[in-house]
């Protein structure tokens, strides 16, 4: 089971994307756990995940969170703006899986 954590300011708009990604995962037959959290929970949630995706609107937090992610050996990246705006679950899921290698 691959665990994907999404983070944005309040965890609101990323939770929209979570649903789209779950649907995309189901269509692909991929076993994943995806959830969304606000930025202030990121530090405590990162260790529970395999890969972390940040909403593009909080990419300023990337350098700071990358330190935490690196400590725990987790991958972290900001989501592509266009994919985020179009709530493209398939593409964002692909990006997450690609990061996991």
């Amino acid at each position: 089971m691959k665990k994907i954590l999404l983070c944005c300011a309040a965890g609101m708009s990323t939770s929209l994307l979570v649903n789209k990604m779950k649907a995309a995962a189901e269509a692909k037959g991929e076993e994943v756990e995806i959830w969304a959290e606000p930025l202030d929970k990121a530090a405590t949630e990162i260790p529970k995940s395999d890969v972390v995706l940040l909403g593009p609107q909080v990419k300023y937090a990337l350098p700071e969170l990358k330190k935490i992610a690196d400590e725990h050996g987790k991958k972290i990246e900001a989501i592509n703006m266009v994919d985020y705006g179009m709530m493209n679950g398939t593409k964002v899921l692909e990006a997450a899986l690609k990061l996991l290698g």
């Binding site: 609101m12 202030d40 530090a43 300023y60 937090a61 350098p63 700071e64 179009m86």
Partner: protein, 439 residues
């Protein structure tokens, strides 16, 4: 022109991105922001009781005028008091907790030591006037210092205490327990020496200020910080600056509101609480600008006041892409979430659409500010509601059940719509041309 705008947005990003990262990642500002977020649910719970105690229904108001009704109203106001009147303390503990977490210190120890140091610099004398005996003093924790009036002192003591805590722990001046002692026990001992020093420092602050003309730190902070900051934050000038800043950050794709709140919200919470106090005492409400002014009136439909734009996209867009965004964004827009519009349309880094994106919220805050200031529209009462509350309902609720609060939102809806319309048309026809392969 387009070329110039491209360069403009590019240089904006280059300049704003590092600044945004600096502000958002600055440990004290981040702790203040996250600490204040902790108070939000508490203030919303208090607001529910505040709404119930002041229901804008004539039958209920008549009931509250009866002896039984007055008792029930009094009961309903108890939870209002223990929530609002404690925001200074809750913020102090919240900020301390978050800052301790940042330093990887025990959060609850940091919060409790800060709470104690806050109380230590707070005078325990309450002066009041008795009908028969005139002016008297009593001993107790004064509610007038634990609420919003103590907010800045709370933040200062939290930062001071946790900084001392961190300094001493990092210098390793702590009592170490042998390994067989349970971690929960040894943690409390780690906090012992820093706690002692923090109490000592707080005591010196208390004694120091007692020997000046001010009497205590609260008086100084009120004069030097609270008054000036709330005066700027509550002014039209302050509103315009904050609105421009939030939306400039957003045009680079950065969550402007999230970055700015750490700096701006402490002052606005003071104004919110002063309004709440006036409202629950039936006095005229003074301040226009509270956190809800921005959440509810500036950001109707999300940052950029895009609620009207969302409906245009849904019903009037001719291009496939914009229609799709319309369908995607209308649901979240009802709850003031608009990332699909910001990143999908997109508005972010889009030289054409950032013009209305900055003008529309500016128009909304200008209309709201001056109609409230001039008394045409009811001011926000200090009732706090979640920022995700749908438009129209939200305006009605934050003004304490005044129709004018909803009406100004409807006016804003049309004005922002007029501002967005020509830009929406241009963008839609550009997309349509792209789709039909004309470009």
């Amino acid at each position: 022109m387009a070329n110039f705008m491209d360069k403009f947005t590019k240089s904006l990003e280059e300049k704003l991105m590092p600044l945004a990262a600096k502000v958002a990642n600055q440990r004290h500002l981040a702790a203040i922001k996250d600490g204040i977020i902790i108070t939000v649910p508490i203030v919303i719970i208090g607001s529910v009781f505040l709404i119930l105690a002041a229901l804008p229904i004539p039958a209920v108001a008549n009931f509250y005028a009866t002896p039984l009704g007055a008792t029930i109203q009094k009961w309903l106001l108890y939870p209002v008091s223990v929530t609002f009147d404690m925001i200074g303390i809750i913020t102090c503990m919240g900020v301390a907790y978050r800052l301790s977490e940042y330093y990887k210190l025990d959060g609850i120890s940091g919060a409790i030591i800060s709470f104690v140091s806050f109380l230590l610099v707070t005078p325990f004398t309450i002066t009041f006037t008795h009908e028969q005996y005139g002016e008297l003093t009593a001993t107790g924790i004064p509610l007038s210092r634990t609420g919003s009036a103590g907010l800045f002192v709370g933040i200062i003591m939290a930062i001071l205490a946790v900084e001392i805590f961190n300094f001493i722990v990092k210098k390793n001046l702590v009592i170490k327990m042998p390994d067989m002692v349970p971690p929960a026990v040894s943690k409390t001992f780690v906090a012992l020496i820093p706690g002692f020093i923090i109490v000592l420092v707080s005591l010196l602050i208390r004694i120091g200020f007692e020997n000046t003309g001010f009497g205590n730190i609260h008086e100084v902070v009120t004069k030097l910080l609270t008054k000036p900051l709330t005066a700027i934050g509550g002014s039209y000038f302050g509103v315009v600056i904050v609105t421009i800043l939030i939306h400039l950050l957003w045009t680079c794709g950065l969550h402007g509101a999230n970055i700015v709140t750490g700096i701006v919200y402490p002052a606005l919470y003071v104004l919110l609480d002063e309004n709440r106090l006036a409202f629950s005492q039936g006095k005229p409400i003074q301040h226009v600008v509270t956190p809800q002014f921005f959440d509810i009136f500036q950001s109707m439909g999300g940052s950029g006041a895009t609620f009207s734009l969302a409906l245009m996209l849904l019903f009037w867009a001719k291009s496939k892409q914009l229609k799709e965004i319309g369908k995607l964004s209308i649901g979240p827009a009802c709850f003031n979430i608009n990332e699909p519009i910001l990143f999908g349309l997109p508005i972010v880094m889009n030289p054409l659409l950032i013009i209305p994106f900055i003008l529309a919220p500016l128009a909304a805050v200008t209309i709201t500010y001056w109609t409230m200031k001039l008394g045409i529209v009811a001011k926000p009462t200090g009732i706090a509601i979640p920022w995700t509350t749908p438009p129209i309902i939200s305006g009605y609720l934050v003004t304490g059940g005044k129709i004018s609060g909803a009406v100004v939102q409807i006016v804003n809806f049309f004005v922002t719509g007029i501002i967005y319309y020509p830009f929406f048309k241009m963008w839609d026809s550009k997309k349509l041309q792209e789709e039909s392969g004309e470009i």
